[in-house]
Symmetry: C2
Subunit: 257 residues, 2 copies
């Protein structure tokens, strides 16, 4: 099995390292930025290109781990699109972006947050697959099985919703941690004190659904505490807006039902 | 060591069970609601009262795990405030609420989210202590040590900030999970698919600070995706408002620095 990686960001890096550790041959890495391409190629013990016309033509699978807008641009730049299966890794890009360029294509979307500096255990990463035909789907399932048992067949419309849900569950959640960190820093309190709370909040939803797991002043309709907190935030209009909107939202969510 | 628990909610329940498992004698449980009092007393193998004038007078420590507004009310109702140490468990209530009622008092604030249905490993719960004098502080440290090594001396002003930070890191975070769950449910996607993402997002901040751990369309200034997501949320004005405000906040946070 030979793979070519188009892209050199954190998804390309983590996928490349994971496949390499399973004995898959990473034949080539492409990035428009030669330094990034070289850097990832070194990590993966392979070659790199920064000109798409030098693309290796005989790989089994081409994985496009690019910014959302870059996929069609790069496909258009290819003189000949290689045979083999072409997949992108993006939550929000429809599979149909490959149509007209190649026949065997699909999506290989690992639903996880990737940072270059943080290792990932891929056996715990759900991979969402979509394929242009049954044969391609089988090939992608076999590819994904090398990394994880958590394999889901998800169509483009569902994947868009999944990506949107992930923005709330991951990106916005992390921003809540960031606000907490700033509040603690301003009071000379170490961030570590709040880490067990963050861990337990995440752990809880394995056994309770988030609706039932909700705690805090807003769900208790504890206006005294809410007003006190809003007053404490008067020096930061942005944090105050976030606190106010989320408290009202939680209140309405739990009042209605 | 004899303890009396004033209150029968989730904090009282988890603390009571944790102390009992360490051999501390829970002498009595009080709640205004006799059914709740009886229920917790049964779990702890002890007696209950629903009239504060029946309070056991010879305990070493009285733990008030009550709604924020109830502490002074209950203290005022006591004909005689017992000797012994009096502590409350609340993040937002100043220690000074005990002043004038008794001499030995303090705060025993476990920084964790407690739900009746979810067991807690107390060895991983930070306990924030504050005491009216040195002798009381030593007694409270010894009490906390029965449960955990994570003991912090935190004054009332810091504790208020800590509680505010916890609302963001826990309550609002859980609400982000809840919104994600609702989006997934509307698209017939199982919530389990997003659980590894939630776990990794929480795990990440053990090695990266939340600022550096931030990912997603807002921090990439990816307006195309943000606009697409806002469009997808047009049927839910509240989710749309949350998405918009948090994306703008993340954008400003990362643009500035």
């Amino acid at each position: 099995m030979e793979i070519v990686l188009i892209g050199s960001g954190s998804v390309a890096t983590h996928l490349g390292l994971a496949f390499k550790s399973k004995g898959v041959i990473i034949k080539q890495v492409f990035s428009r930025n030669p330094a990034n391409a070289e850097n990832l190629a070194r990590k993966l013990g392979t070659t790199f290109i920064d000109d798409i016309s030098d693309l290796y033509m005989d790989a089994d699978i081409y994985i496009y781990a690019l910014k959302d807008s870059a996929l069609k641009t790069i496909l258009r730049k290819m003189n000949t699109v290689p045979r083999g299966i072409h997949v992108h890794t993006a939550g929000s890009v429809p599979m149909s972006d490959f149509e007209g360029f190649t026949a065997q294509f699909g999506v290989f979307y690992p639903l996880q947050t990737f940072s270059i500096k943080k290792e990932i255990d891929f056996s715990n990463v759900p991979v969402c697959l979509e394929a242009s035909n049954a044969e391609t789907q089988i090939a992608l399932v076999n590819l994904a099985k090398l990394l994880t048992d958590k394999i889901y067949i998800i169509n483009s419309e569902q994947r868009k919703q999944l990506h949107l849900a992930a923005v709330f569950a991951c990106n916005f959640t992390n921003y809540m941690y960031d606000i907490a960190a700033q509040i603690l820093e301003d009071s000379d309190i170490k961030f570590e004190i709040i880490e067990p709370l963050i861990a337990e909040t995440a752990d809880k939803i394995k056994t309770l659904n988030p609706y039932d797991a909700q705690t805090g002043p807003a769900v208790r309709f504890d206006e005294t505490t809410i007003d006190r907190h809003l007053h404490m935030l008067k020096g930061n209009s942005n944090f105050k807006k976030v606190y106010d909107l989320l408290s009202k939202s939680i209140y309405l969510r739990h009042k209605k039902q």
